[in-house]
């Protein structure tokens, strides 16, 4: 496996899987509710955002050097 998920242990992948569900699934309340996760740090938040997260990590590491 060559992608960024390959290095992660099963436990961390499970956490990412759960994060995907928390962000993308569950009842969307109709009417007067709004959905916003503004301010959430997306690094390692979910499987579907891992590529963006990896870029962010790379950028952070580049900035440190």
């Amino acid at each position: 496996m060559t992608g960024p998920l390959a290095a992660l242990p099963d436990e961390e992948l499970s956490v990412l899987d759960l994060a995907d569900r928390l962000l993308n699934r569950g009842v969307v309340i109709t009417g007067e509710a709004t959905i916003s996760v503004a301010g959430v740090d997306l690094i390692y938040l979910g499987l579907n955002v891992i590529l963006a997260a990896t870029e962010s990590i790379a950028q952070l590491e580049a900035r440190k050097k």
Binding site: M1, L5, L13, A19, V27, V28, E32, G39, V40, I43
Partner: protein, 231 residues
Amino acid sequence: MTRLLAHAITRRATGGPEAGIRGRPLEQIAAGELGLWATIWDGEPTLSRDDAFAHHDLVAVLCDAGPCLPVRFGTWLADAEAARRSLEAEQDRYVAAVDRLADRREIAVTLLWQDAPRTEGRGHAVAPSGRAFLERRRAANAVTDERRKAGEAFAARLAADLAVDQADVRHESCPSAEVALSMSLLAGRDEADALKARATVAAGAINGVRAVVSGPWPPYSFTEELGNGRG
């Protein structure tokens, strides 16, 4: 400014913890037969990764207390009256969904390609010609189609091996370059661990992928008719 951060919908008689996220007050706003559990939130509505998992912990406690519908993380309501109006507007559908999901739990099966293609960077040292670009895109699409078919075949195989009812399965093939299949299975609370064990064996027998089986969790993926838009 005070807002409400929603967590779950339960029968109104269902009990729950006293504290919500970050130790803030938790309230059940009742309307008809239902109650919406929400953290009372003073200040800026910014959330952290830890808040997402605290929401999960809270929903899990509520689902252990009785039938419940998990609400998508990050759902805000202006006040208790807005929550009541939202519950009343969809009362029949929510009641039916609470009854349908009852004490059921979700098991997640994720299959990762063992030879996932490396994702290209955003820039190129030398810009490709138009023809090279089109050929590269055609090749990438062919791989994607092939992988999507394989992902669908994995889903069919798992559903057959596990003998689960079609209504109790949701799946998505190739949601990202590295993931072949993301599948959710629904099971009664008492059967969830046994289903997880069987899914671990069945998914582990599929060649060419790494299987990760997780849960049991609240049934996040089985609320799509109530507006989650996926399945």
